[in-house]
Amino acid sequence: MKITTNTSDAAPVRRSGTYFGLGTYLGLAGALLAMIVLFSSLSSHFLSYATFSTLANQIPDLMVLAVGMTFVLIIGGIDLSVGSVLALAASAVSVAILGWGWGVLPAALLGMAVAALAGTVTGSITVAWRIPSFIVSLGVLEMARGLAYQFTDSRTAYIGDAFAWFSNPIAFGISPAFIIAVLVIVLAQLVLTRTVFGRYLIGIGTNEEAVRLAGIDPRPYKILVFALMGVLAGLAALFQISRLEAADPNAGSGMELQVIAAVVIGGTSLMGGRGSVISTFFGVLIISVLAAGLAQIGASEPTKRIITGAVIVIAVVLDTYRSRRANRRN
């Protein structure tokens, strides 16, 4: 990834703490590779086209949610409502198609708009009353889930194959959904590292008061980040509908934790100010390969959860250790 490394060899300078360089990416890639090697040696079926194809088609929703969450964590916030908002968007799509007879495109846009609205609500309340986003999004989590149940009468709404093209592989086992998710990741990384908006987000997460006193109003940017999180939850809802051919009001339940875990494994700081979308992508891959691998070797559900939990804790401990070391240098 030459995005952030193009000046790294210019001088023997210790880099600023937000730097996500080749070293970080190599470390994450190494961890991923080690897992793949491990599972391949434990199960002869693991390293196969089928595993790869299944993975690639299952993770697009997790990928785009994790991108949004990376931005939210970078500004020092958190959004617990993403799973519910996903379900809310899906149920809005189902109502539009089944209830009102809308076409696929307007229904999809409606779903994303509803999700964007939910994110905007979270962001606006957080900013306007200076409440921790943790609490606001916890409330929105409940409200969105309730609305999803209301829209669908608590039943899974069968939509059919209108969205199926999203997740049908077009080449090398890769679906349009996966390609879109990868594009979202690339675009988001560019936004984060190369745009004024991205720079403000990192500034806000590092020291919001300094940003404000530099003459920049941080509030609209913070709201925008939550709105963006909503849009991406809406996109994830479309991916899910396409895979399940249905809108499930229970969809995405507990997914927020999986998303946050992926982002944190990637090394984005829960304290804000430091993060990378590319690292998040590695985090998503690590957590997904772990799940797939454990399933392949026949690990029981309890075992899977115990091991996944342990991996999250280890990742955070390593991250804390690393940022403490960086702080001590300052």
């Binding site: 004024v196 500034g203 008061e209 530099a214 920049i216 300052n330």
Partner: protein, 517 residues
Amino acid sequence: MSVPANETVLAVSGLGKTYAQPVLGDVTLELRGGEVLALTGENGAGKSTLSKLISGLEIPTTGRMLYRGQPYAPGSRAEAERLGVRMVMQELNLLPTLTVAENLFLDNLPSRLGWISQKRLRQLASAAMAQVGLDAIDPDTPVGELGIGHQQMVEIARNLIGDCHVLIFDEPTAMLTAREVELLFTQIERLRQRGVAIVYISHRLEELQQVAQRIAVLRDGKLVCAEPIQRYGSEQLVNLMVGRELGEHIDLGQRSIGAPLLKVDKLCRGDKVREVSFEVRAGEIFGISGLIGAGRTELLRLIYGADRADSGQVALGQPPVPVTIDSPKAAVKAGIALITEDRKGEGLLLSQSISANIALGNLGAVSRAGVLDADAERELAERQIGAMRIRSASPAQAVGELSGGNQQKVVIGRWLERDCQVLLFDEPTRGIDVGAKFDIYGLLAELARQGKALVVVSSDLRELMLICDRIAVLSAGRLIDTFDRDHWTQDQLLAAAFAGYQKRDALLHDAAPRMDA
């Protein structure tokens, strides 16, 4: 436990403390039982350092202390307290959600197998509160529900539990109302009569004359005198605190001062800033002096829109036209910059690179359609690194790794790039070594030469006298007077700084104490 009155309880000799630079040197002083010693001096004269050495919060670099005839070298505050040397800090050290009783005995709650024995706790607390004459307060009241004055009494009561032979008060009346101050003085008198040696730190001369028998004045970390207080009048005391000639001189070059560029009219915020009005002209360096807490930082923040003013008006330009500044964003747009006192907390993104910090607030100039131009950003950083002589390895270095002086230059460099017409500097040379200080003075002069209007707040009076064309003095939130260069003396400036505190009139303490914390 009491000591016969006027016997030496604590004797310090040759006491000194050096951090990066010496802050206290060769202080020899006696504290006597049954006597209140007033300790005073300018900001940074070493009052707090001396009291911290005595109460075990800091370890002296040189010198010895003798406490009740024994060598005394406390390694920690706890050790000093055990021996009976205690200090009531400026910031109260109480837990507002716990009760008075729990706060009093937090380090030694009477308990049985971990269960707090409530009855015994209440008895002990009542006895302790009676010592400070506050038996009327129910020990079960949460501390947060008490007024600041009573909270301070609780803090004092806590310090009187167990042995107490030396009690230091650090600016105890800063937050008290007139009535609460009376209450405090009554208690101090009771303690004095019990034979406690009391050190009372304050710059409110009126109070010192009221409460103390002896006065010790520190100046530049040296003890200037320790004499009975009746010998001095207010004016003589001010002279004692200042009493030095201006030694330094720098040539800041020729400047021409133009028409008014910034006009501040009757700016008010609570009791911090009261109807402050002044004008600053193009090419002028306008100093604002005053004691800590006089409202200087608050005034700058109001002008900059970082806090909202209750009333008042700011006008800008030539001629100045009224502008509405309700946020820093609006201030910057109008051409005002603020270089904050707290660089690390409010000015910089410490973990970020120099170039990111300089570019913050200038991103419009180094981007196109919202996309950053990395080359332009680096160029901008390199330009300021060169112009400001920032010592760094590269523009990519994290700002947190730079020295204080270089950090300050990064903040200033950010604003120079914006070409603001009015620059507000809050303690621009705090925590900066001498060499870098002179760099910054030169820079201020250069900015003034370019026709900008500069407002500089500083606690270092000599610094202001060195660089300013005019100096306004704030005291207790009011602008007392404005002095022209060649028409000021250090005595006048200092007398003005104390003016608002001399008469403890209704103005100073009419507002009920607020619980902001």
